[in-house]
């Protein structure tokens, strides 16, 4: 189960609205390499993971990604508070506005609604952990592109924190992969079929 804690993992205090930044930061809320995809990926894959270390890693990083989803949603929310009609139009946020108002909706920066097709849960520990490592690197790249586009220190601080977490998660998944691989090699050859059907 989960217990909600009424605080952010890292503070978000954006006092200057910025429609342009809101429009692109939503990529990490509902985009292909965003936090919703990350949390669903790990929290779906955990059921068929092997070794206590790798199970705990998926469970706990999946949980931290939910905290990151809340941080990114908070950034979008705060960036859209107090915008004028003109600011929304000039930033090109009007297409989003007519569908969602200033609600925070999981979509990519280009307006594509979130889909579970962004992630896999393959039932194979090695396959899944490789996907997870790639996912962390893709999210790091996206945060770096967002940082390239940002000027405000209020926006940069949480973006830089989130980028660093991708690096730590990549490291932990790499360690989990080594542990899972050692375990599979030690126990059985062709053991990866354990998550397939009965023969």
């Amino acid at each position: 189960m989960w217990i909600y804690e009424k605080k952010l993992e890292f503070p978000v205090k954006i006092t200057q609205p910025d429609a342009r930044m809101a429009k692109i930061i939503i990529e990490q809320f509902g985009g292909g390499d965003g936090e919703l995809a990350a949390s669903l990926r790990y929290l779906s894959q955990k059921y068929t993971m092997v070794t206590p270390e790798a199970k705990a890693t998926l469970n706990d990083i999946g949980t931290e990604e939910l905290a990151h989803l809340e941080m990114v949603g908070t950034m979008v929310h705060q960036l859209t508070q107090g915008l004028s009609k003109q600011e929304i139009q000039e930033a090109g946020l009007d297409a989003y506005y007519v569908s969602h108002g200033l609600g925070v909706y999981p979509s990519s920066a280009a307006g594509v609604p979130f889909t579970a097709a962004y992630l896999q849960s393959k039932g194979d520990p090695i396959t899944d952990l490789y996907e997870d490592m790639a996912a962390e690197q893709k999210a790091r790249s996206t945060y770096e592109y967002l940082i390239d586009m940002a000027d405000s220190p209020e926006v940069l601080a949480p973006l830089r924190f989130l980028r660093q977490r991708e690096i730590v998660h990549f490291q932990r998944f790499g360690e989990a992969l080594e542990i899972a691989r050692d375990y599979l090699n030690r126990e059985h050859y062709f053991f990866m079929q354990q998550n397939g059907c009965k023969k």
């Binding site: 217990i3 909600y4 804690e5 009424k6 605080k7 952010l8 993992e9 890292f10 503070p11 978000v12 205090k13 954006i14 006092t15 206590p52 270390e53 705990a56 890693t57 706990d60 990083i61 931290e64 809340e70 949603g73 908070t74 929310h77 705060q78 508070q81 405000s152 220190p153 209020e154 940069l156 601080a157 949480p158 830089r160 924190f161 660093q164 730590v168 998660h169 932990r172 360690e175 989990a176 542990i179």
Partner: protein, 94 residues
């Protein structure tokens, strides 16, 4: 300490606990990290107690805040609002 100072201290300590927890998942026999983890959890708990006694519950249950005739859980500020947060702008690691 005022609300922002307590929240900042708690955020810092809880983050150390989250990060050490992830490290321990893949380094479960690292006794130095276990010791640091236990210490930070204990310290964070004392700050959590101070925060909740003064500014209301952080969790809807297992909280140090007393529920009286007022149901405080619903009360503002919620974490996604600017007034719930302190600023670390310019102080983050780059």
């Amino acid at each position: 300490m005022n609300r922002d100072e307590l929240l900042k201290k708690l955020t810092e300590l809880d983050f150390i606990a989250v990060d050490l927890g992830l490290f321990l998942n893949t380094h479960p026999e690292n006794s130095e990290a276990i010791k640091a983890y236990n210490q930070v959890i204990a310290t964070a708990d004392t700050i959590r107690m101070k925060y909740e006694e003064n500014f209301g519950p952080l969790c809807s249950f297992r909280s140090y805040a007393m529920n009286t005739q007022d149901w405080q859980w619903k009360d503002n500020p919620w974490p996604w609002k600017t007034d719930a947060n302190f600023s670390l702008a310019g102080k983050e690691c780059k």
